[in-house]
């Protein structure tokens, strides 16, 4: 997994609320058997019209906006558990999503793929969206070690929460699976000591 530490970049505003994973990556693009190439189809039905031509009104097709930080309306990533949504966002080049509220499964998927979901207050989200809209080149700093976001050069440091373990994973590029594999003896021990176990499936 790719590491995240500190960086400053511009943001892409998507104030729409309830952006579900079917919008992030429509189901018809989930047929791959590897993790590559999903970025090309990110937000496909918003990004392209029915003739597969870029939709000039969609923010990703507006060259004024760029950067690794997606700033989105509340309840981002709701719906399907498809991790392809995280692969698509990461594959496109996003590293951070800022919103006032994330759907649960999406948040976990993002963290497992080197994509940092940052939850801020609705007021700060509005402020950030406004700043980006006023000046698309507004630099935004994301500091994971110290857990804050700042609009440069003089914005206040807006702190955010992240679980200690997940923070360590992102800072170092570690996956949960490495940790879980190290616990195999404990897992086997747990299995032996259970009070009720359902009969096996075969």
């Amino acid at each position: 997994m790719e590491k995240i530490e500190i960086f400053t970049d511009t943001g892409v505003p998507m104030p729409m609320e309830d952006i579900d994973t079917d919008q992030i990556i429509p189901a018809r693009f989930l047929k791959a058997i590897d993790k590559l190439g999903f970025g090309d189809n990110l937000f496909y039905d918003w990004r392209y019209d029915k003739n597969n031509e870029p939709n000039p009104d969609f923010v990703l097709n507006n060259p004024i906006y760029s950067g690794k930080i997606l700033v989105a309306g509340k309840n981002f990533g709701s719906g399907s558990s498809r991790e392809h949504a995280a692969w698509a966002l990461h594959g496109y080049g996003f590293r951070v999503i800022i919103s006032s509220f994330f759907a649960d499964i999406f948040k976990g998927n993002a963290l497992n793929n080197g994509l940092l979901p940052i939850t801020v207050s609705p007021e700060y989200l509005d402020h950030l969206l406004q700043k980006i809209t006023e000046n698309p080149k507004t630099p935004i700093t994301v500091n994971l070690p110290e857990q804050y976001v700042r609009i440069e050069p003089d914005g206040e440091k807006m702190s955010f929460d992240i679980d200690d373990y997940k923070k360590m994973c992102l800072l170092n590029g570690y996956d949960d699976i490495d940790y879980l594999l190290s616990l195999k003896d404990k897992i086997t021990e747990f299995e032996k000591n259970r009070s009720y176990v359902a009969p096996p499936l075969r």
Binding site: P15, E17, D18, D20, D22, Q23, A27, L30, K31, A32, I33, D34, D45, K50, G73, N75, S78, G79, S80, S81, R82, E83, H84, A86, F101, F102, A103, D104, I105, G108, N109, N112, D163, D164, Y165, M168, N172, Y174, D175, D176, I177, D178, Y179, L180, L181, S182, L183, K184, K186, I187, F190, E191, R194, S195, Y196, A198, P199, P200, L201, R202
Partner: protein, 500 residues
């Protein structure tokens, strides 16, 4: 660096984490001892019985009893195992089926769409290589993963169940902790039969009374969604309780738990009772003989203690609920069928609300009754069980689907299809003008050929009315099987209660 040496290096550093957060775990243990140890919710009882180890103040290593997999979210997880050179840890707790991507006609033939075919074939190859029990295309047990689990008796009270699919919450109807996971987590369960997860908060939704005639559990869950909104359950695990829930069949309970995720909840469960035990008894993988007695004794302990505390609790009266339909682009945007589209809602900004109505081609304040509909889809893990098919067949008997409507009915599994055929439902439905298909997820998400044309309306018994969910530009209106059946016959939105 090889993956093994990388793994060892990482293992050392993760151990440090444990030490660092040790105090917090202590605090956590003492917290549990002082409060919820005595009076536990059903959710806590099951969760706590599956904790291998607590990692920090919020996260646990949770043991998983049953792991369902399908063709769409598993290939990358199998690849991960190969790359790490790690075996599948507990193959006898893993079951596979092909559902999301499969055609619903001519399933005996080779899949024509090349990408779908490759994905389904990859599942077959992976299951052979890792020795996973697969109910693939053509197998009499094949079907939508959340239909076949309960149907085969694989889903049993007190279990933890996961699947790379958000509607895994369906299995909660049996008193299980069941939730959807991403593909990285599918790989974690393959490799260790555990997950590192944060413990959600507890919510209880009590529904007293009894549903009115013509009102179904689908209406109930759409009603709850309209009250709590599409994000209202985020961070919670829901227990549904109360006399209205107790009166529901297992099929109807599954419909409710299925859509817990639409509120953003990790999952939803219902305490098992005699109906649950009767449903399971005798099924293929149900405990038998002495095992049954042992299981039953355990299952009967699975209920929330009377004094157990919930982080959030709601109370509703079933008598308030009428047939529901959605008008917007998330399942929380629902109204009683007789109501008008709202002019605003508290849970969305005006622009988001307006975007949603624009997509649906609707106006604020518009009445939906009488609006022409071009498609009806009866299917999905929400409403494709035998009970749903009976409701539709019963309503459609001797009637004809409106000539302006394409009506499709997709049984949830081969077994449901077989039973429907044995009961003669297929004949009734085909005579009425339905396309009676083979099992799969179908037009719920339009991964296969079953798509709704752009701009057209579809009254659907599925679970999501997201933009483009049933095909690019498709406009989905969620409803119960009875409402969908009435719309199919009349070609417009109608209140089925006035027609029965």
């Amino acid at each position: 660096m090889t993956s093994i040496s990388l793994w060892k290096r990482k293992t050392r550093s993760t151990r440090n984490i444990q030490n660092k957060t040790f105090d917090t775990i202590e605090n956590r243990v003492s917290f549990y001892q002082s409060t919820s140890m005595k009076h536990k919710t059903l959710f806590d009882k099951i969760w706590d019985a599956h904790v291998v180890e607590s990692v920090d103040a919020t996260q646990d290593i949770l043991y998983i009893d049953r792991h369902f997999i399908h063709e769409v979210t598993s290939p990358q997880a199998f690849s991960g195992l190969r790359e790490r050179q790690v075996p599948l840890f507990r193959k006898d707790q893993t079951v596979a089926t092909a559902d999301h991507n499969v055609p619903t006609i001519n399933q005996h033939q080779r899949i024509t769409e090349p990408l779908s075919r490759i994905q389904v074939e990859t599942l077959t190859k992976n299951c052979a290589e890792f020795d996973v029990n697969l109910y693939g295309l053509g197998h009499p047990n094949q079907g939508i993963v959340h239909i076949i689990g309960p149907e085969l008796g694989i889903t049993q009270p007190g279990m933890t169940i996961v699947c790379g699919d958000s509607h895994t919450s369906t299995h909660g109807a049996f008193g299980t902790i069941a939730f959807g996971i991403g593909t990285s987590q599918v790989e974690q369960v393959f490799a260790t039969q555990t997950l590192l997860v944060s413990k959600p908060k507890r919510m209880r939704i009590n529904i007293s009374g009894e549903l009115n005639p013509g009102v179904y559990s689908k209406d109930l869950i759409l009603y709850l969604l309209s009250k709590l909104t599409a994000g209202g359950g985020t961070g919670y695990f829901i227990e549904y309780a109360g006399s209205a829930i107790e009166k529901l069949s297992m099929e109807a309970r599954m419909t409710i738990c299925n859509m817990s995720i639409e509120m953003g909840a990790r999952g939803g469960l219902i305490a098992p009772d005699e109906k649950t035990f009767d449903y399971i008894k005798g099924r293929d993988f149900a405990p038998k003989g002495e095992d049954w007695d042992k299981a039953l004794a355990y299952w009967k302990t699975l209920k929330s203690d009377q004094e157990a505390e919930f982080d959030k609790e709601y109370h509703f009266d079933a008598a308030e609920i009428e047939p529901m339909i959605t008008y917007g682009t998330n399942p929380g945007m629902g109204i009683k069928i007789s109501e008008r589209v709202p002019t605003r809602i508290d849970s969305a900004k005006p622009e988001s609300f307006q975007n949603s109505l624009d997509y649906m081609g609707l106006e604020p304040g518009q009445e939906l009754l009488g609006m022409p509909v071009q498609n009806v889809f009866i299917g999905s893990c929400t409403n494709s069980r035998i009970e749903d098919l009976r409701i539709v067949a019963n309503f459609s008997k001797g009637k004809k689907v409106n000539p302006n409507v394409r009506a499709m009915i997709v049984p949830g599994s081969q077994r449901v299809r077989k039973q429907a055929t044995e009961e003669g439902l297929d004949r009734i439905l085909i005579e009425a003008g339905y396309e009676f298909r083979e099992a799969g997820c179908s037009a719920c998400l339009g991964m296969n050929e079953d798509k709704i044309p752009a701009g057209e309306y579809c009254v659907s018994t599925s679970n999501r009315n997201f933009e483009g969910r049933q095909g690019p530009g498709a406009r989905t209106i969620l409803a119960s099987p009875l409402t969908a059946a009435a719309v199919a016959i009349h070609g417009k939105i109608v209140d089925a209660r006035e027609l029965v």
